[in-house]
């Protein structure tokens, strides 16, 4: 379907002949956070930059990043939490740009019939989460904001795709998850759903990651890749309806669902302090909770590569001003 969509996408200005394009493997997700990547593919912006995209779609960013680390992909879209854990593991990766930020994408959806009406009711309950992801960190943040700790609940590790089944089957009382599962679960629970957002306590970022070695060897490729995403950013800002249709088509997600969650996301290709501060917050959390063996805060500036974006859109660099 995605390939079909690619085939019928309108030709960009002066397209580079297919034979002359550089093959680039990209691991990105079905999630709304990867919207710019979907649009860039669909609108042929990558092709126009001379990139022959070899896509691999994943359920969530952690898996996409793993594909990158396994050298099955040259670029991946991923939230900051998997990036943080992999940096702590010593992986040589670069974040090239933040492509999405949201304070409303993470929430805990609970079953009211499990006796959960307010966040404090989570105490003692079984709460599903995906370890090493934003789900993990958000769960901890929300508990903290409500005077609870991990010890006050029964945390249940689940894959993102297992969340929906687990809560519907009452295997857990609540799940810490993201969209689309978040909205889908809420819809399915209907009035039985209690949803706990906290936009003041966590800001999620979705980013473009690449292996450091690849970026150093292919600096022009990195620029062309970002340039295509910037074109997609412009398109999304000016044509949100069409962008939603592109995403729905590419991810086979119901267009209504796409539209429902649309406003929870900001799609901008930037590099700002949100990523840095969040990475450091999460690192402290990980070290405090013994989720890593590392005890020293890494310098994340060594993992954020500004040169590519700076070369093509200097005003998008909002760090170190």
């Amino acid at each position: 379907m995605l390939m079909a969509c690619l085939g019928c996408s309108p030709a960009p200005d002066q397209p580079v002949p297919a034979a002359a394009r550089q093959k680039v493997a990209v691991a990105y997700t079905f999630q709304p956070q990867s919207t710019l990547a979907h649009v860039a593919v669909a609108k042929g912006y990558f092709a126009a930059e001379g990139l022959d995209i070899q896509p691999s779609l994943h359920t969530y960013g952690k898996a996409a990043l793993q594909a990158l680390l396994d050298k099955q992909a040259d670029f991946a879209t991923v939230a900051e939490t998997p990036v943080m854990f992999n940096v702590l593991k010593g992986e040589k990766i670069f974040v090239l740009a933040n492509i999405e930020a949201s304070s409303m994408n993470n929430a805990i959806v609970a079953r009211k019939d499990a006796g959960i009406a307010v966040a404090a009711d989570l105490k003692g309950k079984r709460i599903g989460f995906t370890p090493g992801t934003t789900s993990d960190f958000f769960l901890d943040s929300l508990l903290t904001a409500n005077g609870l700790t991990r010890q006050d609940i029964r945390a249940v590790a689940l894959k993102p795709e297992e969340m929906q089944g687990a809560i519907l089957a009452r295997q857990v009382d609540a799940v810490s998850t993201w969209n689309y599962p978040l909205t889908e679960i809420r819809r399915q629970l209907g009035s039985n759903a209690a949803v706990f957002f906290d936009r003041e306590i966590y800001t999620e970022t979705f980013n473009i990651a690449a292996r450091q070695e690849f970026v150093r060897d292919n600096p022009e490729t990195a620029k062309r890749f970002l340039r295509a995403l910037i074109q997609a950013e412009d398109f999304v800002a000016r044509n949100p309806d069409e962008a939603q249709r592109i995403v729905a088509t590419a991810t086979k997600v119901d267009l209504g669902l796409v539209r429902e969650v649309w406003n929870a996301f900001n799609y901008h290709v930037v590099l700002d302090h949100t990523l840095l501060i969040t990475l450091e917050d999460e690192t402290r959390w990980a070290m405090k909770n013994k989720l890593t063996e590392q005890t020293v805060m890494p310098n994340y500036l060594n993992y954020i590569y500004v040169d590519s974006l700076k070369a093509i859109k200097p005003e998008a660099i909002r760090m170190g001003r």
């Binding site: 943040s141 903290t144 936009r199 003041e200 306590i201 501060i277 969040t278």
Partner: protein, 562 residues
């Protein structure tokens, strides 16, 4: 098209351009001012953020309520500024930034107040203090994220404002540039137009005028299109026409002048030209011949060098009176040659006037009248004098008698006329011939002249008859008679003296003879023109006959009875 019309059109176009561009310039100035005001507002918003950031950090350090209050007040000030900005900042980009800024600031309020609320829980907590401490940090991180976003937005707003100021400034410069450019263009176009006019119209005019000035008087400048240059070309051509005519006339005049000059040079009359101060500027050869002065000697001198002192002052007075009044003068002057010799000149002197009627010179044409004067004198001598004795003849006697009678009347004094006849002249004539007789007559005439004053007249009346006319005797008859009597006696005595006369007889050596010849004298007195000349002569003649009859060598006075 007339040049004046073209210049008016260019001026009008320039003024129109200035009028059209002025609103653009004014708009650019206003836009620049607005952009500066907008930038100042963006700066205020940024300063407001920095102020609130300081309160936030103070609060995190000390957790005191004063900082919270000030943070809140700063937020209120922020709302006011953002409201103002939403109204005043017109750009779409600015509005988007303001929207993001307002949203983020509002979000930061929630985060800040959760921090404030959590502070109370943190300070009150016992067992789960670590949880509140962790929350505090998480919230503070979020606060920092908001702050970064706000700072980013305010900075972007400032940059946009600065960009607008720069753009407005560029527009202003462009407007000024257009303004100056329009003026410069007008100036350049005018200069080009004038240059073209000079090249196309003035240069041919100049070259044409040059040709005419260099003597090509037949050349005529093509007038070209009807404008001021054409007027000028026509004026030049008219001038050339007139110049040609004038030069023709001038050549004729020159030829005439040349002829006249030759005529003057060859003139038998002397010609002198002086300036108004009577300095001689020209003399012709005849002048040199007449006066003996060469041109080199006389030029620059005053003609008075020729004056003899014997021409009456009145003559000169009349001469200058006529000349200074612009009239000609004609008259005779008795002058002196370089050699000192006196000579008569008949002069005609005329003032020379220039075209405006002002006298600039005097021209004198002078003929030597000496010869004529001499001839006239000879004629006069022949007419009024006796050729033998050189005494006035009867005609001159009549004139003198007229004068004497007039003087007698004027002065009321007597005059006297003596009629003298030699008593024995005829025998001498008969004996020794007329030549000896003539010698006696000449001697008698000389003796008579010696007896009377210069003012008196001795005339030969005819043959051996003489008349002596005596003027200005006394007014009293007796006294006058006495005076006349004395003169008559003197005459009688002188004439009666013997005459020594040379006699030449053919075939013999010249000898002298002594000869006595008395005279009979008739005298008459007259006064006041009471009588006629004829009467006076008749009375004297009658008295003389009485003397003859009385025995000769006698004097007889005419009396009323005789």
């Amino acid at each position: 098209m007339r040049i004046a019309t073209r210049l008016r059109l260019i001026s009008t176009a320039t003024i129109a351009a200035v009028v059209l561009l002025t609103p653009v310039l004014v708009a650019a100035v206003l836009d620049f001012k607005r952009a500066k005001a907008d930038y100042a507002l963006a700066e205020k918003i940024h300063d407001n953020f920095l102020e609130r950031a300081a309160f936030r950090d103070q609060y995190f350090l000390y957790r005191e309520d004063r900082m919270r209050q000030q943070w809140d007040k700063s937020k209120e000030a922020s709302d006011v500024l953002l409201r103002q900005a939403r109204q005043e900042l017109a750009g779409e980009q600015e509005q988007q930034i303001l929207e993001r800024l307002g949203r983020t600031i509002d979000e930061s309020v929630v985060v800040f107040h959760r921090i404030v609320d959590n502070t109370a829980a943190l300070q009150a907590a016992n067992g789960n203090r670590q949880v509140y401490a962790e929350l505090d940090k998480r919230l503070y991180s979020q606060m920092l994220l908001k702050a970064m976003t706000i700072r980013d937005a305010t900075t972007t707003l400032q940059s946009a404002g600065a960009q607008r100021v720069e753009d407005a400034y560029r527009h202003l410069l462009a407007a000024i540039g257009w303004f100056a450019g329009a003026l410069a263009l007008a100036t350049v176009l005018t200069a080009i137009k004038i240059g073209a006019l000079i090249r196309q119209r003035l240069v041919p005019l100049h070259l044409g005028a040059q040709k005419i000035a260099q003597g090509e008087l037949e050349y005529r400048i093509p007038p070209g299109p009807d404008d001021e240059f054409a007027d000028l070309a026509r004026s030049f051509n008219d001038t050339a026409d007139k110049l040609t005519a004038e030069i023709g006339a001038h050549r004729q005049a020159e030829e005439m002048l040349h002829k006249l000059s030759i005529a003057v040079e060859q003139s038998p009359a002397a010609v002198v030209i002086t300036d108004l101060d009577a300095h001689i500027e020209y003399v012709n050869p005849q002048f040199t011949e007449d006066t003996g002065y060469s041109a080199g000697e006389i030029l620059g001198k005053n003609p008075r060098i020729l004056q003899s002192g014997q021409t009456s002052r009145e003559v000169y007075t009349q001469l200058w009176e006529a000349l200074t009044n612009g009239r000609n003068w004609h008259g005779e002057l008795l002058n002196k040659r370089k050699s000192g010799e006196l000579f008569w000149e008949e002069a005609r002197i005329a003032p020379v006037k220039d075209s405006s009627g002002v006298v600039t010179h005097y021209v004198a044409v002078v003929a030597d009248a000496t010869l004529r004067k001499q001839m006239e004198e000879q004629v006069r001598q022949l007419a009024f004098y006796d050729t033998l004795t050189k005494l006035p003849n009867r005609r001159l006697l009549h004139d003198r008698l007229d004068i004497t009678l007039a003087a007698s009347k004027r002065r009321s004094c007597f005059g006297a006329l003596m009629f003298i006849d030699l008593d024995s002249f005829k025998p001498l004539n008969d004996t020794y011939g007329h030549a000896v007789g003539d010698l006696l007559l000449v001697e008698a005439a000389m003796r008579l002249k010696s007896c009377v004053r210069e003012m008196d007249t001795v005339a030969r009346f005819g043959g051996d008859e003489f008349v002596v006319l005596i003027n200005e005797l006394h007014g009293d008859r007796i006294e006058a008679s006495t005076q006349a009597s004395m003169v008559a006696e003197k005459v009688r005595a002188v004439l009666s003296e013997p005459y020594s006369l040379p006699v030449r007889t053919e075939g013999t050596a010249p000898t002298r003879i002594e000869y006595s010849c008395t005279a009979s004298i008739g005298v008459t007195l007259f006064i006041d023109h009471q009588t006629t000349q004829d009467d006076i002569l008749k009375w004297a003649d009658a008295a003389m006959y009485e003397a003859k009859e009385a025995g000769r060598n006698q004097i007889r006075f005419h009396t009323a009875e005789s």
